[in-house]
């Protein structure tokens, strides 16, 4: 039953990814300018030869068919901007960086967001609730591209604790991960608070308290266990937020990850690289959502039993 469900979900992804490829393909080719238009004009016959070599002179539809054909073999094609490099190689070298950054940020968000949410829920409308929730409201309204520069201004340029940009040692990690993590933690804390308060009004929580369990155990075990389901569901889309946040954060802190690669590939009109990065992101998000749903099923027997809501 469970395997059948996973299989269906995986099968659903194929047409979706195909649509993403087609949409990105036509959009990328509609971008004004081409990959070979640089500051120095190249002779027209050289440009023509290049376009012939990469198959860019063929009609769009047949280019798309060729691309999808190669895709089935796992080949994302050659990069147009960096001759001699394949898109697979370029993306492969950037993925570990983005995964490290993304996972750290997500972990940070969970470690900050969920405890803060539960704590606020356990003392609603006291200063323990109001102060952290005020901060989370700020975290929602101050986007990563404001928070990032502010962090750099204060912690890197002002206090000199961390390098303002770059990559390579763990210390470079701190500011980008903190920026991404806090932005993700804020909505997480608010959601957790709401759901745990709701669970806190249930009879089983009253029972837990009545049988003399310590408050901390009542909130963090009994109420959280039931309040956490929507939070787990939220982590799927939160990963999507991390993705768009990573464009900004990677550009800002000069992190050589996938997000900055996507932005620079658009600026360079590197069609194959645009397609490749978009596809990797789409696939990653679809899989992450599946994982979130499976985690939800593991936590809640009612979901596992087969209701699709």
């Amino acid at each position: 039953m469970r395997y059948g469900y996973i299989f269906t979900r995986l099968a659903e992804m194929l047409p979706v990814l195909l649509i993403v490829v087609a949409a990105t393909f036509f959009l990328a080719h509609a971008v004004p300018g081409g990959p070979f238009e640089k500051d120095r004009r190249m002779p027209p016959e050289v440009k023509k030869r290049l376009e012939e070599y990469y198959g860019l002179d063929k009609p769009l539809a047949s280019q798309l068919v060729t691309y999808v054909g190669n895709l089935c073999k796992g080949d994302l094609g050659p990069s147009l901007k960096y001759p001699g490099w394949s898109v697979n190689e370029i993306i492969g070298s950037r993925i570990p960086v983005s995964i490290q950054l993304g996972l750290t940020a997500l972990l940070l968000a969970i470690l900050i967001g969920i405890p803060v949410g539960v704590l606020a829920a356990s003392r609603p409308n006291t200063w323990l609730d109001r102060v952290p929730m005020g901060f989370t409201l700020l975290g929602i309204c101050v986007p990563s591209f404001v928070l990032g520069p502010l962090f750099a201004l204060v912690f890197a340029l002002g206090l000199g604790w961390f390098p303002p940009c770059g990559w390579g040692s763990p210390i470079h990690f701190v500011l980008p991960a903190l920026t991404l993590g806090i932005v993700t933690a804020a909505p997480l804390a608010r959601l957790t608070r709401g759901k745990v308060i709701e669970a806190g009004n249930q009879d089983y929580v009253r029972t837990a308290r009545a049988k003399g369990l310590p408050e901390r155990r009542v909130w963090f075990v009994h109420a959280l266990r039931n309040g956490i389901l929507p939070v787990v569901t939220y982590l799927g889309p939160a990963a999507a937020g991390l993705v768009s946040g990573s464009f900004v954060v990677e550009s800002l802190f000069d992190v050589p990850g996938l997000g900055r690669l996507f932005v620079s590939s658009i600026i360079n009109r590197d069609f194959t690289l645009i397609l490749g990065t978009t596809l990797v992101y789409a696939a990653a998000l679809l899989v992450l959502n599946l994982v979130a749903d499976l985690a939800k099923a593991a936590l809640d027997p009612r979901v596992a039993r087969g209701g699709d809501r």
Binding site: C141, F145, L157, F247
Partner: protein, 286 residues
């Protein structure tokens, strides 16, 4: 408004909203910002694109309240002009998202059964996609045409709305007044305009207020990456980016647009939450 004796759900809703001091204050603040941006061609102290290279970047002072940027352009005037773009994108794209989301949601809820499930599953799948990437591409493609940007941003922001509207429609569909008007032979369009729209209006307004911040954020994101509005026009996202580039020398260029942008988003959230608490009893119980 109607008679003073009995309070309908709308009046009690407004009363609840008026008691929410934060939301009321936020609403006035938003109105003030919007009015200032809208009137910016007349009230801005300087033309937003006028450069004064001899002057250069000046910290906030009496003649330039928010300072000037490296080209000597007045930051306050640019904030107002940028606000027009940012708020404009927020509003227009939200309207696009609403129109699409409401129609899709009502259609799905009305159809019911397999069609509804297929349509809502599509929404689920779409909402897991990296639509930001597609919007970024659209903005690069249609960069010259600001209306296409509105359409692209709106085109990816309708998903939540359609989901909410679908649930509402399903519950409305079986209410007696709808059944009666269907039995009396009213056309589908008639049922839609006479029964669905008035009953959905509240929830539409609430979630519209909550959609605007997301949409403005998206525009700012793209402008921040340098792929949005083109010079000499500006938007808050672009101003934040320009400010971040030289924050060491001229921090006011980063702080002014960031504060205005954050305050606007904050107010929108307050108003949206206030409206929801006041008018949507189910949501506040949730």
């Amino acid at each position: 408004m109607s008679g003073p004796t009995a309070l309908g759900p709308t009046e009690t809703g407004w009363q609840r909203f008026r008691k929410d001091r934060a939301a009321v204050f936020a609403a006035w603040f938003l109105l003030a910002i919007a009015a200032a941006c809208l009137l910016s061609p007349w009230i801005a102290p300087y033309p937003y694109q006028r450069q004064d290279l001899a002057l250069g970047a000046v910290a906030p002072c009496a003649t330039h309240w928010f300072g000037t940027d490296i080209l000597g352009r007045d930051v306050l005037s640019r904030l107002l002009q940028g606000g027009m773009v940012s708020l404009g994108v927020g509003l227009v794209a939200t309207v696009v998202a609403l129109a699409f989301g409401v129609l899709y949601g009502v259609a799905a809820g009305q159809a019911g059964g397999l069609v509804e499930r297929a349509m809502m599953r599509t929404v689920d799948i779409l909402s897991t996609l990296p639509l930001t990437l597609i919007v970024i591409l659209c903005m690069v493609v249609f960069g010259q045409n600001i209306w296409m940007i509105f359409l692209a941003v709106g085109g990816v922001s309708w998903l939540t709305m359609s989901r909410i509207i679908c649930t509402e429609t399903v519950s409305l569909k079986n209410r007696q007044f709808v059944e009666v008007s269907v039995a009396l032979g009213q056309s589908k369009v008639g049922v839609f305009t006479h029964h669905y729209l008035p009953n959905l209006a509240g929830i539409i307004a609430i979630y519209a207020t909550l959609t605007v911040p997301g949409v403005m954020m998206l525009e700012a994101f793209v402008s921040f990456l340098g792929l949005g509005v083109q010079a000499p026009m500006t938007s808050w996202g672009l101003m934040i980016k320009d400010g971040a580039d030289i924050m060491e020398e001229c921090p006011w260029l980063l702080i002014a647009p960031s504060v205005v942008f954050a305050l606007t988003l904050l107010s929108l959230n307050f108003v949206g939450d206030g409206l929801r608490d006041a008018f949507d009893p189910r949501a506040s119980k949730k």
